[in-house]
């Protein structure tokens, strides 16, 4: 239990923060300050970490990790970021189950705060050696929730063929309802990537264009973006629906149902002429589920 018992402070002392600075102030410095201002919150983060390390949670237990960290609110941002930034050392020897639960919980809680101070730590994780795909995707989603132009650009820059973080970035972009994001993802889908990537792109486009989400946002300042984003998503997905088959087509169809935009029907009708009978039948079945 020696490794599992490493205290957060000790781990931080070992860590390099060159890439994890927040607003030009090293994270370690910020944490030291937080220890004085909110010692109970820092201790609470450390306690969650120690408990998760000692008792690897199952799937349900890992959700509780997120709840506990989320409950600490914005005062916990710096200690949570510090823990994420030092994960390569402080969590190196944790059981897989503990490490994943802890990092996903931290990143969910951090993402929920939508605090720009988190950006550099999230970027550092995504450009670092993190090997757990779910952790990387959750980090990208947290960055996507920030959704400033620079966050979108960062993720778009990694959502490219061959990039180690391609899939994580695609997942993260689903949280960022910006026109340049949908333009990028649509272009990727138009380029006919492999099936797994196409499914990931479709799911993100479906989420970006989600009719229910946009209805939820009807009174927000984002509302003006709804029509171009949804139109673009629907059109790209409709083209891909014809271009792919099997389970990939099914996933694209589900995304189209989420976007629920008339542009999809128009695009499908335009493409219908040159398709094989199976695709024509699939289009017909899908159209029954579209507006």
């Amino acid at each position: 239990m020696r490794t599992l018992g490493i205290a957060l402070a000790g781990a931080l002392a070992l860590a390099t923060f060159a890439q994890a600075a927040v607003a030009d102030v090293p994270l370690a410095t910020q944490l030291a300050a937080e220890r004085k201002v909110h010692p109970d919150v820092v201790a609470a983060v450390e306690r969650v970490r120690a408990e998760v390390a000692a008792h690897p949670p199952d799937a349900r237990g890992s959700v509780a990790v997120g709840w506990r960290l989320r409950a600490l609110g914005e005062q916990a941002l710096v200690p949570m970021l510090a823990l994420v930034a030092t994960s390569e050392t402080s969590m190196k020897e944790l059981p897989v189950r503990s490490r994943r639960a802890l990092l996903v919980g931290l990143l969910e809680a951090i993402g929920g705060l939508k605090d720009a101070r988190a950006a550099s730590t999230l970027r550092a994780l995504l450009d670092g050696p993190e090997a757990d795909a779910q952790v990387a995707a959750t980090a990208a989603s947290a960055l996507g929730k920030l959704c400033r132009p620079e966050d979108a650009a960062f993720l778009v820059g990694r959502a490219v063929p061959g990039h180690a973080r391609d899939r994580a970035a695609i997942a993260g972009l689903a949280e960022c309802r910006r026109e340049e994001v949908v333009t990028h993802l649509a272009a990727r889908l138009d380029a006919h990537p492999d099936d797994a990537t196409a499914v990931a792109l479709a799911e993100s486009l479906g989420s970006l264009g989600s009719s229910w989400a946009w209805q939820a946002l009807a009174k927000s300042k984002l509302a003006a973006s709804a029509e171009p984003i949804r139109t673009h998503a629907a059109t790209a997905l409709a083209s891909a629906f014809v271009a792919y088959g099997g389970a990939t087509r099914d996933a694209i169809g589900r995304a189209l149902v989420m976007v629920e935009h008339p542009a999809a029907r128009a695009r499908l009708q335009a493409l219908r002429g040159g398709v094989d009978p199976a695709t024509a039948a699939a289009i017909e079945a899908l159209e029954g589920r579209l507006p």
Partner: protein, 602 residues
């Protein structure tokens, strides 16, 4: 009415030379001097040397009337004897009875299938016979010779290896035997044991020449998993003291009313009583062909989960309860869901149905499994190998916990089919909330008086949220819509496979959220309910209070009540909902084992 032990005593006594008053006039131990024409099957003259098994499945050996046992060399829907995997622990030694070479007390006698070698009183001097078991079955069964009172365990002597050489005197006197299986069929692999046990009796004359042979085919009973329509005998939950009180406040009266049951609290630290064990059973024909056998408590294939072992330790102490634990080493799943799919909340049984010419009288095992995200491969193969409840898989890879019971349930209904499929419907939940909002209730709160956990896991963070705020949450909206498309896809697959009509699929409203890239119920997942004998215990939805009642609760009460169900609610918020589980996840049941699986033809 015979008890199980008395039954076996009579059954075996029927092989003795004198009738012992166990009924069945043709059970008398008739010994004849007919010639040894033992060529097996229906052609064999009765009352000559030959193998007798309960091929006609009436629960007794018809020694005097070989034809009465029908064709004992084949095994199909109408013929063929059955043996049990003897996995209960009748002598309470802490291990299955099949693990040793003794009959573990008189009660264990009932778990053995009887076999007799009919006597040939006039066998010439020098006659010999051998009884052998096919090569694949031999290591998987244990054969006993019965010397004396068949009701007494002391009369049973194991024959190891299971091959018997008989002298002329033994051929003349006949032999009484019994057989148990050491395990179920465990694999569908071509080179694995398929559960059929072929017994061969070869008789030779003094000169060593063959006088004749006889063959009988038996089959080890499969493990059957319970479907939700079978009558319920017991309800289980994990007893966590005062923390269990809110659940029990709803569960206790529901079990008591009309059912006379008191839920059994299991002593372990894991509240997910649906997940760490499952209950199945295995059976063979008893008196009049009615099934007898044993319940099987199955531990989930999660070696880290102590509660699974605790459950087996408990159930092993119950009379006629066996235990089973299969965990495939080196099968650690690398998917995000890990081995959560091994939890039995991810394993269900489609109730019995017929579609066209295909009939599934015992239902079908159904669980979440796709190539990229599947349960323990060994356990999956084990379930498939049981054969009588053909498998069907759905995709649960989009769920954080990954269990089929997060979005479906099967419950009894007063329709022609006798049951319906309940399916999660975020769309319905959203439509209901939008209507409430349109009706001017946007500022009314859901989850009033409920809390989310704080950093110390004390329930102190108020959960109450207005309808307006909930509907303005784009993340919940997007995830709920995503879930609707996934549920629709899986329900369509079930619908097509089973042949369900639209009115046999009942939407159950609640919204979802995303966590770690996967879906979780945001409102209490009311589809995750406990069903027993027409009663459903549903998670309290803690919806908004409009005019003194909760529209979500009212809706479920009305629509499920219209199906003939008795509807009860239980508060599962603190102990289950906030940890992404609900009433079904926290309970379990033991049901009756009335099905005659051997008639399915599978």
């Amino acid at each position: 009415m015979f008890g199980r032990r008395a039954l076996l005593a009579c059954l075996l006594a029927s092989l003795a030379p004198l009738p012992l008053g166990c009924g069945g006039s043709d059970d008398a131990g008739a010994q004849t001097s007919d010639p040894p024409a033992v060529d097996g099957g229906d052609a064999a003259p009765k009352s000559t040397l030959g193998i007798v098994v309960d091929a006609n499945r009436d629960g007794t050996l018809d020694l005097a009337n070989a034809d009465g046992e029908g064709d004992h060399a084949t095994w199909d829907a109408k013929h063929g004897a059955i043996l049990l995997a003897n996995l209960d622990d009748d002598d309470q030694k802490g291990a299955a009875d099949a693990t040793d070479a003794i009959v573990n007390g008189d009660r264990d006698v009932a778990d053995l299938a009887p076999i007799a070698l009919r006597a040939w009183p006039d066998a010439p001097d020098g006659t010999t016979a051998t009884l052998s078991i096919d090569e694949r079955s031999a290591p998987n069964v244990r054969l006993f010779r019965v010397n004396g009172d068949p009701a007494s365990a002391a009369s049973y002597v194991a024959i190891d290896p299971p091959s018997l050489a008989l002298s002329a005197d033994e051929v003349r006197a006949g032999v009484t035997l019994a057989i148990e299986a050491r395990n179920f069929v465990t694999s569908t692999a071509q080179d694995a044991w398929n559960g059929y046990v072929d017994l061969t009796l070869a008789v030779k004359g003094q000169d060593g020449s063959s006088v004749g042979t006889d063959q009988a085919r038996m089959r080890v009973a499969p493990l059957l998993l319970q479907h939700d329509l079978a009558p319920t005998e017991s309800v289980f939950y994990t007893d966590l003291g005062f923390e269990s009180a809110p659940l029990l406040k709803g569960l206790d009266p529901a079990c008591a009313a009309d059912h006379g049951m008191t839920p059994t609290g299991l002593t372990t630290g894991d509240q997910w009583a649906q997940d760490f064990f499952d209950v199945g059973y295995t059976s063979r024909p008893g008196p009049g062909g009615a099934p007898i056998g044993m319940k099987i408590a199955i531990r989930s294939a999660q070696d880290w989960r102590q509660a699974g072992q605790d459950a087996l330790d408990y159930f092993r102490t119950l009379p006629d309860w066996g235990t089973l634990y299969l965990h495939t080493e080196n099968d650690d799943k690398q998917s995000d869901n890990g081995d959560s799919l091994d939890s039995f909340g991810n394993w269900s049984v489609i109730p019995p149905y017929t579609k066209g010419s295909e009939s599934f009288p015992l239902g079908r095992n159904v669980w979440g499994s796709v190539a990229s995200d599947h349960p323990d491969s060994g356990y999956e193969d084990f379930v498939r190998a049981q054969a009588v409840q053909p498998a069907f898989n759905v995709d649960t890879s989009w769920l954080y916990v990954g269990h089929i019971d997060e979005f479906t349930s099967f419950v009894k209904a007063n329709n022609a089919r006798g049951w319906v499929l309940l399916a999660a419907s975020p769309k319905m939940a959203r439509d209901m909330l939008l209507k409430m909002q349109a009706d001017g209730h946007g500022q009314t709160q859901l989850f009033v008086g409920k809390q989310w956990p704080d950093a110390n896991y004390n329930m102190t963070i108020p959960a109450a949220i207005t309808i307006d705020d909930l509907l303005a949450d784009a993340s919940i909206a997007a995830e709920s819509q995503y879930v609707q498309t996934r549920v629709d896809a899986e329900v369509k697959r079930l619908k097509d496979e089973i042949g369900l009509s639209d009115d046999e699929i009942v939407p159950i409203p609640f919204l979802w959220e995303k966590y770690g890239g996967y879906a979780l119920a945001h409102q209490p997942g009311t589809v995750n309910l406990l069903h027993f004998d027409g009663t459903v215990v549903i998670p309290d939805p803690f919806g908004p209070q409009l005019d003194g009642s909760d529209p979500f609760e009212d809706d479920l009460t009305t629509r499920l009540g219209a199906l003939g169900l008795t509807v009860a609610f239980a508060d599962d918020w603190n102990l289950y909902h906030v940890l992404s589980g609900e009433v079904h996840c926290g309970t379990n049941v033991s049901r009756t084992m009335d099905a005659k699986w051997w008639e399915t033809g599978r």
